[in-house]
């Protein structure tokens, strides 16, 4: 009885792993580091993590999860509430809509898709920020952050892949 309950708990926790991990990364990415301009240039780790899981385990990263994590990120980062929720929802819909395309594709193709998608996210964010806050954000910073986000994806994906194989084998 207890064994079965524990096994069930273990399974539930593992299945919640993609969401928990992404929320954790959203939390950790606001911890201040004593590096000049880090807060501005920091790569969008939440986007990387969400993209990875939606591509590889869409069953464990539902739309409501994308919404909730986006809201959490907005509340933490001081962005207009709803901004990242909206962006992550659209990312979710885009990836799940093209799910067949991603299945079993070579890594570089997924990386390229990530690059295109994160560029689209950056542009959409610029636009939304302009609409909501009447502010033209510094495009140079956006480009630098985008470049970093794309550059770091392979390393981050490798790490997430390890975690996936360790805790969610066969997925």
């Amino acid at each position: 009885m207890v064994g079965a309950a524990l096994a069930q708990l273990d399974r539930s926790l593992k299945q919640a792993l993609p969401l928990i991990l992404t929320a954790l990364i959203a939390l950790l990415s606001v911890v201040p580091l004593p590096i000049p301009e880090y807060a501005v240039l920091a790569p969008n780790l939440v986007l990387i993590c969400a993209f990875y899981w939606i591509v590889h385990r869409p069953d464990l990263f539902p739309a409501w999860g994308a919404f909730a994590i986006g809201l959490f990120d907005d509340a933490l980062s001081g962005a207009p509430l709803g901004l990242n929720a909206f962006v992550l929802l659209v990312v979710h819909a885009t990836i799940t809509g093209q799910h067949k395309f991603f299945r079993g594709k070579a890594f570089w193709l997924i990386w390229a898709s990530f690059a295109v998608l994160s560029a689209a996210v950056a542009v959409a964010t610029l636009l939304l920020v302009f609409i909501v806050m009447k502010v033209v954000a510094a495009p140079g910073l956006f480009l630098a952050q985008l470049g970093l986000t794309i550059a770091i994806y392979p390393a981050a994906a490798a790490l997430l892949g390890r975690i996936q194989r360790l805790f969610l084998p066969g997925g």
Binding site: P32, A75, L83, V90, M133, V135
Partner: protein
Amino acid sequence: MARSGPALKLAAPLKVLAQRLAFTGLLGASVGLMVMAKAEAPIVERARMLVADAVVPVLDAVGKPIDTAARWVDTARHYADVHEENRRLREENLRLLHWQQVARNLEAENRALRDAQRVTTEPGLTFVTARVVADAGGAFVRSVLIAAGARDGIAKGQPALVPDGLVGRVGETGERAARVLLLTDLNSHVPVQIEGTRDRAILDGDNSDQPRLVFLSSGAKPQIGDRIVTSGDGGVFPPGLPVGIVVQTGDQGVRVRPFVEFHRLDAVRIVDYGLAGALPVGAPPPQPRRAR
């Protein structure tokens, strides 16, 4: 687990429909939230600070080892140039002793003048020192989250300082967390003056490292190297707080480099000068105490 039959045939499209509806609902909710955020609905701020209140203890715990590591690096670096530092401090000490004498003379003179004019002294200020636990980047907000809130006596609008100078002001308060809007944030507009000439201006953040001086009083000619301090206009900041130094003049506009190094903030002091100004009141009167 394989099931078949009419029930499944009906269930699949229904499930897709439900998913589409849920997605549309969530998308609508996020747009609605953005509209409310744009209208600066108080409930949005409250929701945001509720999340901040919940995560601040975690962020506080996570940030401590990072602070410690940064301090070790600093210490190691200081050991390397301890002799040079010593020499510099000795010289500075001599200079400061001179200033101390000047300050004493001025204090005595001030007292004498006050006595003569029967000036009432300002009420004592109170302050709270709080750790910076989150640094919100992004190209459109410059703010930090601190581990002290309304229960520590922090209220919206109060200035945040470090020994180097003005950091910004409190933008949102939760129970145990508050968000400090930095001088460089787009929504930061600080009434300042050029020290010496007392020419008035507004220091406008634009999310770059060097905020702009705008609405300079006519005839003002700021020079590179001029010190900028708060003017006290508008009643949000008391006059004379060090803000920054002019680093650019000319057609491109006047830009100021703040004295504060924002990436090195580990604690700020939130000061209550008892200035109600144009800001809502309602917070309990603060007591001087240290919040973690």
